[in-house]
């Protein structure tokens, strides 16, 4: 069917492998060429993305320098921009999200890998993964009309009654607030953290468990003293991956966080995130400097998420080597 290899086998054996592959067939060369071009689009895309962000943000970077990071004045009319409130809001809402989501997600993954009877594992894992399939804007819709009324009627009065003496629950609660944004983010990142930590826990060798159980540990002690410490770096990686998702999340937060350029300790007050600022103000940015400032916010957001994601992958790879982290989570 096909012609014999053009080169005699004896010479081919001395050639490096890639030469041998190239010499065999024109179709192979074309195939490899096409695939290479397709693969190279990814790095090119990243270069274009970073380049474009830097170029577009350059006027603002030159104008405000590092001041941009800690100034909290955002005055489009006067042409003065500082991103501190957004950076604060992004970090604060993600922190609230982690505080709620981490116990929940670790609970799910420990339950699913260690305690759940076989027949519920699959369905629960599927349902939790479905949470990740819900579009962000639907979370936002649900947040506005279900979550906020619930927070107002039940959660906030309770929080006030217990923690009212701290500065974190000051002021009037209008609904759209750091708390609402943080809670919706928490629900959104649970499936990511749960899926990855489940994979990490599954990668822990059974001998770890068996050894602990063999020494007379209860099942919980086996989990807590043998399994979890073994997968610790992977679990931390899973949490950081969730953090990466929370930092970059846009729509649901934009709809719930209140969008006010303010830094305050109270979680009941409106705040702002970097992603929300871009979503809200990009189309109304009339001056070049305004637009440029928003691009700088985008650049900052991009850099932060890249660093956070890279860190997460390194940690997870220590336990579950080589897995394409997070890309399978729906």
């Amino acid at each position: 069917m096909t012609a014999l290899p053009i080169e005699p086998v004896a010479t081919a054996a001395q050639e490096p492998r890639w030469r041998l592959l190239r010499g065999v067939n024109v179709g192979d060369r074309v195939y490899r060429g096409v695939l290479t071009v397709l693969a190279v689009t990814l790095p090119l895309l990243l270069l274009a993305l970073v380049g474009e962000l830097v170029v577009s943000a350059w006027p603002a970077i030159r104008r405000f320098g590092l001041h941009f990071l800690w100034s909290s004045v955002w005055d489009p009319v006067a042409g003065v921009f500082g991103a501190a409130p957004m950076i604060f809001g992004t970090l604060a809402s993600s922190l609230i999200a982690l505080l709620i989501a981490v116990p929940l997600a670790l609970g799910v993954s420990i339950f699913l890998t260690e305690f759940a009877p076989k027949w519920v594992r699959q369905p629960i894992a599927f349902l939790v993964e479905l949470l990740a399939a819900i579009p962000s804007v639907v979370y936002g819709l649900w947040g506005i009309f279900v979550l906020i009324p619930f927070l107002r009627s039940t959660v906030v009065p309770t929080l006030r009654a217990v923690f009212g003496w701290t500065p974190f629950f000051d002021g009037v609660f209008y609904g759209n607030s750091l708390l609402a944004g943080g809670v919706i983010l928490a629900i959104m990142i649970v499936p990511y953290i749960a899926a990855v930590s489940r994979e990490v826990l599954l990668a822990v060798p059974p001998s770890q468990r068996e050894a602990a159980l063999g020494m007379g540990a209860t099942r919980w002690e086996a989990v807590w003293t043998a399994v979890v410490p073994y997968g610790r770096s992977g679990l931390i990686g899973a949490v950081i991956l969730g953090l990466g998702r929370a930092l970059g999340e846009t729509m649901a937060v934009t709809m719930l966080i209140g969008n006010r350029h303010d830094i305050g300790l109270s979680v009941l007050q409106p705040a702002y995130t970097m992603a929300a600022a871009i979503a809200n103000e990009f189309s109304e940015a009339t001056t070049n400097l305004y637009l440029s400032a928003l691009f700088e916010v985008g650049l900052l957001l991009f850099v932060i998420t890249v660093v956070v994601n890279a860190l997460a992958r390194l940690l997870i790879w220590q336990v579950a080597r080589g897995t394409a982290v997070g890309s399978r989570a729906l």
Partner: protein, 282 residues
């Protein structure tokens, strides 16, 4: 000694219960969200909703036909652009990805995978909307394709790597050239996995809003022109949910059901596709 044993037993029981309750809470949030969608939106799903276009603000009635068609067109276009690149890059990673370029592409795919979608949105704006001078569905589709490609590349690679080496060797030994082996034997065997990855990718971009805000923009009228602004379900939900009218809120819930239905359908289809191949999936 005895007290200690009791304490350990109690801790074991309490913690087992606790992780069970936490799992229940996670599942409960899903049930609550889906339940609310159905309760608040199902009554608005009628013939008009699917066939009429939006009416001017304040009037009642109207539907989201333009948004449904718009989502279809934008997502379809994004697939036309994204699927070949993503699957091709994935095949490259699996077949030739052991070198430095392979490492780079893999790393870049992971970086892009975590990129916030709003950043991709403003990128598409500078590259397509600004030079063209107007918003367009095409720009939105490109933004969605950019979101889809890295994920698709990595899942395709993983699926192709699962194909046993012996299959490839058998084909090569029969005199098949490498490219035909790769396409007819290896990719064919991994097809179910690749289809699953694609469906998951489509499900993920179908609900995206942020990248469309400054690209497809939204459109109150029915439009199928890909170089013009186009409405999408997600954009419509955003507009209606944040707007002041009760009528809008009602339509937002109904539109959310349609969008959720679409996404769930894709997710379930993805599960089904992988099951065809691997029997009971993980």
């Amino acid at each position: 000694m005895n007290a200690r044993r009791v304490r350990r037993r109690v801790v074991n029981g309490v913690m087992t219960g606790l992780v069970g309750v936490l799992s229940f809470l996670a599942v409960l949030s899903l049930i609550l969200i889906l339940g609310n969608l159905v309760v608040k939106g199902a009554s608005s799903l009628d013939w008009n909703f699917f066939t009429k276009n939006p009416v001017p603000a304040g009037e009642s009635g109207g539907g989201v036909a333009n948004a449904i068609v718009g989502t279809g067109i934008i997502v379809g276009l994004a697939c036309l652009i994204g699927l070949p690149i993503g699957i091709g890059a994935g095949l490259y990673l699996a077949e030739f990805g052991s070198g430095r370029l392979g490492w780079t592409v893999r790393f870049v795919a992971d970086v892009l995978n975590g990129t916030p979608s709003i950043v991709v949105g403003i990128f598409a704006w500078t590259w397509l909307v600004k030079p063209m001078g107007h918003f367009s569905a095409l720009a939105g589709a490109v933004a969605l394709a950019i979101l889809m490609v890295p994920m698709l590349a990595r899942t395709t690679e993983e699926m192709v790597r699962l194909v046993p080496h012996s299959l490839r060797e058998a084909a090569l030994a029969l005199g098949y050239p490498r490219w035909r082996t790769s396409l007819r034997i290896v990719a064919r065997t991994a097809l179910a996995g690749i289809v699953t990855g694609s469906l998951v990718g489509i499900a993920r971009i179908a609900g995206e809003t942020a990248p469309l805000l400054f690209t497809a923009l939204g459109n109150l009228n029915f439009s199928t022109h890909v170089l013009e602004p186009m409405q999408a379900l997600s954009l419509q939900i955003y507009q209606y949910a944040t707007g002041p009218f009760d009528e809008w809120h009602r339509l937002a819930w109904a539109a959310a059901i349609v969008l959720m239905g679409l996404v769930l359908l894709l997710a379930v289809a993805a599960r089904w596709a992988i099951r065809q191949r691997h029997g009971a999936a993980r």
